[in-house]
Each structure stands twice: as structure tokens, then as C-alpha cells.
Symmetry: C2
Subunit: 310 residues, 2 copies
């Protein structure tokens, strides 16, 4: 315990303070703990401990399907039976991440945030969201320089998958940071339009249909050519609210389970094109329904305007 | 092994045939195996074995955070370190389900199905989907009697949460089968309209706005009153394609992680109402984009018409 340079060999000496977030569907749990300090045995440091069960390792299946895995019966009925099974320790490994000493911001980062459904009418956008975004952009809080660096070939040039350099209808295809490119079934590509000033789908009108159709046609053709994944295995959508305010399209494999694909955040490119053809100001007039975490800055703006609570 | 009446005590004698589906994000794996037959030691029965890691049990956290959990270091850098951790066997329990002897249909049920994105235009609906649905309904393959039994108070009467009995705008609120009602954070309620003949949102026109607004207003009021969950913590949506063809609304807590909430299947009630106000035939004209498994009957119809592949 006292030796700062030695690696930790077990979770001994970790005191449980509280559970920050219990992510049951991912079989993960985030914990606030205290660990005896390396500097002094009298004191303890705050720590964030992230525990996550691992997926089954196919190469260990034969070891699990053996006499080493003990069963207790929960239910037996005809051909169906359910058990609680205790596999041998070596195949029950979990991933543990320790942040220690952890500052207040680390603890807050992993704390479960209350989620709220927000309805943003056209008026809410004009009175709350847009002024907030413009203030953030003007004061450089929402820094888009990294996007402009990509579009101007000043950064990540070796990662570019495709470029159509037309100023109005052109775009670049880049692998998303979350995709390591080793497995096409996890394909995740972003399309970044060259056109500036389109913050999100709120700004799209009928005049942008050629840009959107170009991404849908040429973008998906390129992906099929490069990765042999046809359009009918791809999910192609925008986020609203997006995580950054230069318009971009998410393209990923339908086998991928991703949090941002739900109807409260994802808007299919094909639906967006069809709605703009129906009426060019569809997205200016639309009431958007989306989820915000209560620590989100935009949530604070809606709360100030008494708009977040119904 | 030879005793048919004794409960299984371990997974010994289970031979691995193949992995049917490796659901890594859920930390589950479905396996086709063979188990020595209870009738004769010379033969073996086909079996489907479903293994799923359990969420962390908060009451066992102190046991995990102890010297019993051994660590091997993956990375140590400043305040961040990651480990592979081996907790004691008793807290590494997994859920095992065995179906044995398993027929071909059981094996096929748990086999990973290829997914395909299908685009259903107005014409595709009229020429492919609608004739297929009507044939299925006429021949009673899509049996809606269980829904009518609920609406006519012939079944599940003790489960009814609320009823508005107006024939045109009325509906019933029922807890979904997946919700055990023990935890309001897992709230999952269905709204079933009394009106017959609305198969899905494809059939909705401006004349149904009063029904939809009634569900949105009165339905959510009732839920807040019964379960203290306000509307801004609820996800309210239709499925397209739905799993049964009597119109119904899914209402669940936004904290719930559910597969059917993604943009390729879920359509928010608030968006549906807004689109019908914009143009009454919005859903007759819309091109729907959704995902079908290749063993889905409707997929077969689209494939026959050469429509599923692009």
C-alpha cells in the first residue's frame, strides 16, 4: 500500500464511498471510493473506480462449458431450465479503471446525470438556443477550428477517406474517432460538408437538398467501394442536438449498438431530404423533442426560461 | 448424467457445436451445444445455451473491492490506470438458460440474423406491405384477438391502469409485459386505442389528431398521477413496422435502454401529431426506412419484389 511505484496487485484497501452510476444494461458500475494514500498511511485519496464486465471470450467457451462451471437451479420446466452459473475465476475477468487521486471534476464526470426531455419549438430556438449558440461560438467556447483544419487539409490529412471539394455540395468522409478500422462491422464514418455556417439540421432548407443528396449518393457509393458495405447495411443520420455545431452526418453499420441512434436524438438523412422536399422550411418550423442531461449548458438555458420542465 | 430427474450441477458434458450469436455489448452469448442424452449414454441431444453476465450487485460491491479481487496491470499513467480484475467466483455469477432437447426452430430462433435496411415508399406499401398484411390478417396469422379481449374487458381486466371508453378518441393504458411494476424507473406502459382498423401509423390521417392528442394529454397525466413520473421523463412513440397491427403507443422511462427506440424504428408521438397537422396525408406519402431481419416474413415479400436490396 505504501509503495507509490509498485503496481496495484488487488483491490484491497479500497473503501466504498458511493455508487456514482449503475449501468445495468452494460453490466458496468462507476464507484466513488477512497484509497489509502501513497504518501501517508494516515490519509486516503479520493478515487473513481470504473468496473465493467467483459464480453464472453469465444476462445474460453470450452472452459466455461465444463465441470468447472457450477450451477444452481432457478427454474426447470420441460425443455427449458435456467440456472445461476459460477464459471472459474480466470474466465470471469472484468475491466477495472482507477482514477486516483480523483478531483471533484472526475467524480462529477462519472456521476449519473438526470435526463430530461426538452421540447424546443421554433420560438424556443430563436429565443433560447440560437442566442446561446451564437454567444458560445463568438466567445470561442464551441471551437470549430479542428473541423476547419480538417476541411483545409491542415490536420488529419492521412485519415481522409474521400473528398468532393465543391464549396456548396462537397464534403469529406472521415473515420469517426470511435472506429479503429479493424472491423467493417463496426464501421463508423462522418461526412463533413465543406459549406460553412450550417450549425445543425435547424439551418437546413430546400436549397441544401443537392448537398444532402450528394452525401447520400456519392458518400454511400464510396463506402461500398472502400469497405464492401452496401447502403442497406448502413444507418445514416444527424444528431439534434449535435455535439458540435458544424453540420455533419453519422454513417455507421446497423449491427453497431450506439447510444446516439435513438429517435430522441437521431434524424435519418433520408427523412431529412424528404421533409425538405415536402416543405423547404420544415426544420425551421419543427418542434424538436430531445433529451438533455441536467449538467448540459443548454439545459441551464432552458431551465432559466422555465422551458425544461414540461 | 444418466439421471433425468436430477438437477444439473455443472456444465460438464456440454459439447460446443457453434456460437449462434455473440452479443458483446450485452455481455451475452448464445451457443448451440450437444448434451449427453438422459435416455442413453451413447447419444447426445441438441441444446441451445444462453449465457449472460449479470449486472453488478450493489450489495456485493464491498466484496469486490477487497483483497479477494486480484489485478493485473494493463496500463498505468499518472492518475489513470487500467487493470484486468479477477473477482471471487461467488460474485462472478452469470445467468444460464438451457433449452434441451432443442429442435431446429429453437436453434434458428437464437441464431444471429442478418439485418437489412428497407425503404418502403408509398407504392411499396400499397403493392407489397398492405396486400401481405391483409392476407395475414384474413388468414388469422396475425391474430389480434388478444388485443380485442383486453379492449372488451374479457382479459387482463385487473391489469388495466386507465380507460377512456370513447370509441373514437378513447384508449386503455396497460403495463407492458416487460415491466414488472416494481421500479418506476423501468416504467413501460402501452396505450391501446379503442378504435379498430388502424394497423399502424401508415393509416393515420388528420382525422386521428384528437385521438393522438388525447393519449398525449390524458395518458401522460394519468401516468404522472399513478407513478409520479412527469412527461419530461417519458419517451412516447410508435414502432414502424410494429410487432402487431392494432395501433399502439409505447410509453417508457427515458432511463430505460431499449432496442426499439432507435430512429430506424421509433416515431415520436409528438412528431406524428405535428406532421399530421402539417399535412393530413403525411404518413400515406412518407417513405419509411426501417430495419428487418432476413428471417422476417415481410423481408421475404420485399426480397421477392427485388426491393430489399437497395
Amino acid at each position: 500500500n505504501g509503495d507509490a511505484t509498485a503496481s496495484r496487485k488487488s483491490l484491497s484497501g479500497v473503501e466504498l464511498v458511493s455508487v456514482l452510476n449503475d449501468k445495468t444494461s452494460q453490466k458496468a458500475i462507476f464507484v466513488h471510493g477512497r484509497i489509502a494514500s501513497a504518501k501517508s498511511e494516515q490519509t486516503a485519496d479520493d478515487a473513481v473506480i470504473l468496473l465493467e464486465k467483459k464480453p464472453f471470450n469465444q476462445s474460453q467457451l470450452q472452459e466455461i462449458l465444463s465441470s468447472q462451471t457450477k450451477l444452481t437451479v432457478d427454474l426447470e420446466n420441460d425443455i427449458y431450465s435456467t440456472y445461476t452459473a459460477y464459471p472459474p475465476p480466470l474466465v470471469s475477468d472484468i475491466k477495472a479503471t482507477i482514477i486516483c487521486p480523483a478531483a471533484e471534476k472526475h467524480i462529477r464526470k462519472y456521476m449519473k446525470q438526470k435526463l430530461t426531455v426538452v421540447r424546443e419549438t421554433k420560438e424556443d430556438y430563436l429565443n433560447i438556443t440560437m442566442p446561446f449558440l451564437e454567444k458560445q461560438i463568438a466567445s470561442n467556447v464551441f471551437n470549430l477550428q479542428w473541423v476547419f483544419n480538417i476541411l483545409e487539409h491542415k490536420a488529419e490529412t492521412e485519415r481522409v477517406l474521400f473528398e468532393d471539394d465543391n464549396k456548396n455540395t462537397g464534403f469529406m468522409l472521415m473515420p469517426d474517432m470511435k472506429w479503429d478500422r479493424s472491423d467493417v462491422k463496426s464501421l463508423y464514418v462522418m461526412a463533413l460538408p465543406h459549406k460553412r455556417g450550417l450549425k445543425s439540421i435547424r439551418d437546413l432548407t430546400a436549397e441544401h437538398i443537392p448537398l444532402l443528396e450528394n452525401i447520400q449518393t456519392k458518400g454511400l457509393e464510396v463506402i461500398e467501394k472502400l469497405f464492401k458495405i452496401p447502403a442497406n447495411e448502413l444507418r445514416v443520420y444527424f444528431h439534434y442536438q449535435p455535439s458540435y455545431y458544424h453540420l455533419h452526418v453519422h454513417i455507421n453499420h446497423i449491427e453497431l449498438d450506439l447510444p446516439g441512434t435513438e429517435a430522441l436524438r437521431a434524424h435519418l438523412l433520408s427523412d431529412v431530404i424528404e421533409n425538405l422536399k415536402l416543405t423547404g422550411d420544415y426544420y425551421q418550423n419543427k418542434t424538436f423533442t430531445f433529451v438533455l442531461q441536467e449538467n448540459n449548458f443548454l439545459f441551464t438555458e432552458f431551465a432559466k426560461a422555465n422551458k425544461a420542465l414540461n
